[in-house]
């Protein structure tokens, strides 16, 4: 198996110059998953934003959490949405809800065969996938069935 789920050629995620998601992307490079939590009301918040949607504080912390969760939904993609994925189909995209917080969900791929079954509710664990040779380097968070 390749060291990455897809070969190079897909768009490279880069931290926004002024975007709220920068600590998330920087964390993946360091093998850490960071999610926003409001310092004042302690609400988890996702996606990243500059303000807490609950109490309107601008003091949002980035909390390192365990990359563990359950498959909330999934799809098996058969028709490549970009030419660079033409030889990658079929592949499985999963939406994972983290154990640590309700309504905090991340999109990734389910590692393994693209024809494998995925089940809503199945436990999964994160696998950091580093694209060190990319310019600029970046990292993704993939998922494997949890023990």
């Amino acid at each position: 198996m390749n060291s990455t789920y897809f070969s190079d050629g897909l768009p490279t995620p880069v931290p926004d110059k002024q975007g709220p998601a920068t600590p998330f992307w920087q964390g993946l490079v360091l093998n850490t998953l960071r999610i926003q939590r409001c310092r004042r009301c302690q609400s988890w918040q996702w996606g990243p934003e500059y303000i807490c949607s609950n109490c309107h504080s601008f003091e949002l912390d980035w909390i390192e959490v365990e990359p563990k969760g359950r498959i909330y939904s999934w799809t098996r993609v058969w028709q490549a949405p970009q030419p660079v994925l033409a030889t990658a189909t079929p592949y499985v995209v999963v939406l994972v809800e983290l154990d640590v917080a309700p309504n905090v969900r991340l999109i990734g791929n389910l590692l393994g065969s693209g024809t494998q079954d995925a089940q809503v509710g199945a436990a999964v664990a994160g696998v950091f996938e580093h694209h060190a040779a990319s310019h600029p380097p970046y990292s993704l968070l993939q998922w494997r069935p949890a023990d």
């Binding site: 050629g9 995620p13 990243p48 939904s73 990658a88 905090v104 969900r105």
Partner: protein, 401 residues
């Protein structure tokens, strides 16, 4: 509800018009020319001079600027120009609402609502140009789309498949329910000479053997990509009977989004919905009718899964009834209990981002559909499931006045 603060019976659609519909890239006309032709057709249908249009309303960042249209058409006095925020087709009924609000509040007298698309010029829904592939081998991506794109969830099919899959899981929805939506649309298109899929029927075996795009969406669960334009003309309800056609009165229009529906990375608290729970409540309250009063439905198909969600969220059936209600027999005019997308809709007539569905709703009210339902006093049109904001529209016949 404060009786003054309503759009009910404040305006009516008195003209409808469309260009010929084309497969993507096959229009001989540029998009702006398509827009002009549709508007002229709608004016001719109403018996209105294009010089007397005084407002334009559109949505989804339509590229055909109202001022250029007004200049080209020789509009005598432009009084109103409005763009409903939001991508996709979620704003279609919202643009009707904005036009009606302008008329009700005395800002305009004769407003055109339109959509023009030349996907041969700029293609929707395809990551390519938007992702920057035209200029870089592997472009960079930031913001909300950085969460799905590196994982191959790039075009709407993959992203909406996640939502549809969860919806099907939550409610035990069978693939056959999605199939019925597609088969009914194709059946209707066989009687509609305007339809792209006129003369190209679909049956169960062809659907079942069609390729997957992204599970649970087969090819035939997905909208087409088309070129063309469509437009309607609205005037104040009290003037509506002065025009050439039977008026389709606006009973209600509502737009909006449920709480944090668009939270990035698919993190909406109420995820597996098409985003109509609050919109449909306001829609029926304004219209003074109930879902049981609806005689015919035009529901925006980006993908069939979104249609199933949208119908349920408009109260047309209970969650546990999805599989029993969504059958070809029930969804097919004239005698099905829930006639759906009676022009062929986006799957088989044309993907005109909802405007062809508005026209079909008005034709059903007039009694002019290719698949006419015997008695239509209330027609429901639903815009853009699973996006934000979405919107919905109720049209009524003379009997509702």
């Amino acid at each position: 509800m404060d009786a003054r603060r309503t759009l009910r019976h404040r305006a009516a659609i008195v003209g409808v018009g469309e260009t010929a519909y084309y497969k993507r890239g096959q229009s001989p006309d540029l998009e702006f020319v398509l827009a002009l032709k549709a508007i002229l057709a709608a004016c001719a249908d109403a018996g209105v001079s294009p010089h007397d249009i005084d407002g334009f309303s559109s949505y989804a960042d339509d590229r055909n600027d109202a001022v250029r249209l007004a200049t080209a058409l020789g509009v005598k006095e432009l009084r109103f120009a409005s763009m409903q925020w939001g991508g996709g087709g979620g704003g279609c009924a919202g643009a009707i609402a904005n036009a009606t609000a302008a008329i009700a509040s005395g800002q305009a007298e004769c407003v055109v609502v339109f959509r023009a698309l030349s996907q041969g010029q700029v293609r929707y829904g395809q990551g390519g140009a938007a992702l920057g592939y035209s200029t870089q081998a592997a472009p960079e991506i930031t913001g909300e789309m950085a969460f799905p794109v590196p994982y191959g969830a790039i075009s709407p099919a993959q992203r909406f498949a996640l939502k549809a899959r969860r919806f099907m899981h939550d409610h035990g929805v069978h693939q056959e329910a999605l199939r019925a939506i597609s088969l009914a649309a194709y059946a209707h298109a066989q009687k509609n000479p305007r339809a792209i899929m006129y003369g190209k029927p679909l049956d169960t075996a062809k659907y079942d053997s069609s390729r997957w795009i992204a599970e649970p969406f087969h090819l035939f669960d997905s909208c087409m990509e088309n070129d063309g334009a469509a437009a309607v003309v609205l005037v104040a309800a009290e003037r509506a009977r002065e025009f050439a056609q039977a008026p389709a009165y606006l009973l209600a229009a509502a737009a909006g989004s449920d709480h944090r529906h668009a939270a990035p990375s698919h993190s909406a608290p109420d995820y597996a919905t098409a985003n109509y729970k609050s919109v449909s409540r306001r829609l029926f309250a304004m219209g003074g009718v109930s879902p049981a009063d609806v005689n015919v439905v035009q529901a925006y198909e980006n993908f069939t899964g979104g249609v199933a969600m949208a119908l349920m969220e408009h109260g047309l059936f209970a969650p546990e009834e999805i599989n029993s209600v969504l059958t070809v027999e029930n969804l097919t005019a004239p005698f099905g209990c829930l006639p759906l997308n009676t022009s062929g809709g986006h799957l088989a007539e044309c993907y005109m981002h909802g405007m062809n569905l508005v026209i079909e709703a008005a034709r059903q009210i007039r009694g002019q559909s290719c698949n006419q339902v015997p008695v239509v006093d209330v027609a429901l049109m639903i815009s853009g499931p699973m996006v934000a904001p979405v919107s919905s529209l109720l049209l009524g016949s003379e009997a509702t006045r």
